[in-house]
Amino acid sequence: MDLTYSEADERFRTEFRGWLDANLPAQWRERGFWAKQDRDEGFRMRREWEAGKARAGFAGIQWPTEYGGRGGTPAQRAIYDEEMVRYRAPLTVNGLGLTFLAPTLMVIGTDEQKREIIKPLLHNEVIWCQGFSEPNAGSDLAALQCRAESDGDEYVINGQKIWTSQAMHADKMFGLFRTSTEDKKHRGITMLIVDLRSPDGSPAPGVDIRPLKQMTGGLDFGEVFFTDVRVPKTNVIGVEGGGWDVAMLLLSFERGSSAMPQYTGFRRELDDVVGLARDLGRDRNPLLRQRIANSVVELECLKYHSLHILTQVEQGKELGAASSMTKLQWSETHQDIGELFADVAGLAHQISGDGLDDLQRSFLWSRSETIWGGSSQVQRNIVAERLLGLPR
């Protein structure tokens, strides 16, 4: 065991903190700041700030320098994640591109795709969304139906995608489309790049993007409808009919990521709940104390687990399906913290505009976290079958 970072890694931390101190506006760090911004304007501010961070060399921490990355270590990536949360720096606006698309292209993209996509993505010149889920294909991707029919050098896309994060702000989509209905279900799928916008920023012809309001009242997801949208065949990622394998490769990049950002964020959220309990004079309540402590236990375990995962990554070990454990641990724990907040606040948890809005939104939002990105039920299947070897 050695939980210290190397000198080089700690130097990186110092350097990054220096940049954040100089470049992160103080009011951005205040609780509730982003909730008060206009949605589009907030997006623009974050997009620009993040591009500046990339220009300063604090993006793509682990990516090779040839792609505009920093060429850093897994530990530096973890430090970066930690500091971003610690500083309450804004979340990335291009997460799906950063986490999934770029690493996938580094492995199987054409030279042209690598050149034209990765760096502009890192600098937020192009915002990406992911088009996987459909109304009748949530956890079951093999069931997807949105068609891309071959027509000469192009595909013609018709159908619908749903639960598309950032749909309202994305310029392009990478998504799975059915290019054959004759092959076995998961063989007739192709990963394609689709332009969602005309040069003036309005939706491209045949593309209809609608926000999907959540129970929080927020609009973090959208639906995207395609009517005869034409896409050149050079937009295939991998090969036609190989979309399932590309998707598996793509999703595998989630595995290496530790849950340190979730740990740091949720611990801070828990601190806010503790503060609320103190404000309400309920911090001596033995039942609430047990519940608070239990959330601490689960979060600290998440931290230890993340350090272990980070070690595995640094040692170059195959993580297998461990990310399903990570997801279960953070999403279920976060949901418990939401319930704890409600129990601490009592009926006041219902009231907006009372300074509880961040915790209230988190409480509601945490209900979605056990559904998207592989529901808890799907994660448990994976843990049972792939980690424990139980029969299907």
């Binding site: 956890s139 009592g346 009926l347 006041a348 948890h349 907006s352 559904i371 529901s375």
Partner: protein
């Protein structure tokens, strides 16, 4: 020995369910979420008054039906089943304070009007209200529908109850923005407001009766949340099979069915125990409220989870149930508070 609703109660339930489904379906509730009205659908109130359901607990001498709490519980459960908005339960509760503790004059002035649907009343309790020479001061939060009420029944320190005119001098009512929009929660601020005292400090009895009504509301919420989820999962397919054929989901729904069934039994029992003056009535009240709160919270959370992504959208009904369950869980004692009261009864023999 007969532990069930009577034929009359069952018929009442059918009538109420049909009426509410017709006059105020969930689409109307959802519309309230997008509205900027006062959150109190006036036509619904009028029709409910016409049906005579506000008269359920009012004695016949005050133009009421003089029925029991179990009959009112039947209504409350239908309200929960439909996430029905409006000051119906609040008015029943505050009118109980008047019925049990009011002076003859107060009863004569208010109960016939409540029975006819002509007056809305609501209970404001749980704040730190002090009284000096008949003038009340203090702030009470989370008072339902005070902004449309014709009278407030205010609980002051020491357990005394006062009738207060919400439009009178020294009374301010502020509407707050609650997650659950099938109610309206307000803050009532009293600054030397004139109060007319009730004849008896009946707050504990009123709170018990309120707890039973809200327990039944919650049991209704829980049952429909579960039934809707079961129905959806019977047909929705994933991996080529109905979602409801996956054993992990089946077992979760089975456990919920047991819990919700127990909450339903407990809701009826508690109402009857108060009606019949059974020796375990107080215990039964706390059993019912804690069990219903737990069951509704779990059933509505499961409604979201087992609908998948759609269950999390604004357009789907799941959040109406989830938010109402979460609100009513804390009204008139949350599960932990009622369990502590059970401990006082069972452990301390108090």
């Amino acid at each position: 020995m007969y532990f069930d609703l009577t034929d009359e109660q069952r018929a009442l339930r059918s009538t109420v369910r049909d009426f509410l489904a017709d006059r105020f379906p969930l689409s109307a509730v959802r519309a309230l979420y997008d509205d900027d009205t006062d959150g109190d659908p006036a036509e619904l109130w009028k029709s409910v008054g016409e049906q005579g359901w506000l008269a359920v607990l009012i004695p016949e001498q005050y133009d009421g039906l003089g029925l029991g709490l179990l009959d009112a519980a039947v209504l409350a459960r239908c309200w929960g089943e439909g996430c029905v908005p409006g000051p119906f339960l609040p008015t029943l509760v505050a009118a109980e304070a008047l019925r049990l503790g009011g002076t003859d004059a107060q009863k004569s002035a208010w109960l016939p009007r409540v029975a006819a649907g002509d007056a809305k009343v609501t209970l404001a309790h749980g704040g730190g209200v002090t009284e000096t020479g008949g003038k009340l001061s203090g702030t009470i939060r989370h008072v339902e529908y005070a902004h449309v009420a014709d009278a407030l029944v205010v609980a002051a320190d020491g357990g005394r109850l006062w009738l207060v005119d919400p439009h009178g001098a020294g009374v301010t009512v502020t509407v707050t923005d609650a997650l659950d929009r099938s109610t309206v929660l307000t803050t009532v601020t009293l600054d030397g407001a004139a109060g007319e005292e009730l004849a008896a400090p009946v707050l504990p009895e009123v709170l018990d009766r309120a707890a039973v009504l809200y327990a039944n509301d919650l049991a209704g919420v829980a049952r429909v949340a579960l039934t809707r989820t079961v129905d959806y999962d019977k047909t929705r397919e994933q991996f080529g099979r109905p979602v409801g054929s996956f054993q992990a989901i089946k077992h979760a729904l089975a456990d919920l069915h047991v819990a919700v069934t127990m909450a339903e039994h407990a809701g009826w029992y508690a109402a009857h125990a108060l009606d019949a003056g059974l020796p375990d009535a107080t215990l039964a009240v706390s059993v019912a409220k804690s069990k219903a709160g737990d069951a509704a919270r779990e059933a509505t959370a499961a409604m979201i989870q087992y609908h998948g992504g759609i269950g999390y959208t604004w357009e789907h009904d799941a959040h109406l149930f989830f938010k109402r369950a979460k609100r009513a869980e804390y009204q008139y004692g949350d599960p932990a508070e009622h369990r502590e009261r059970i401990a006082r009864l069972v452990v301390d023999g108090a």
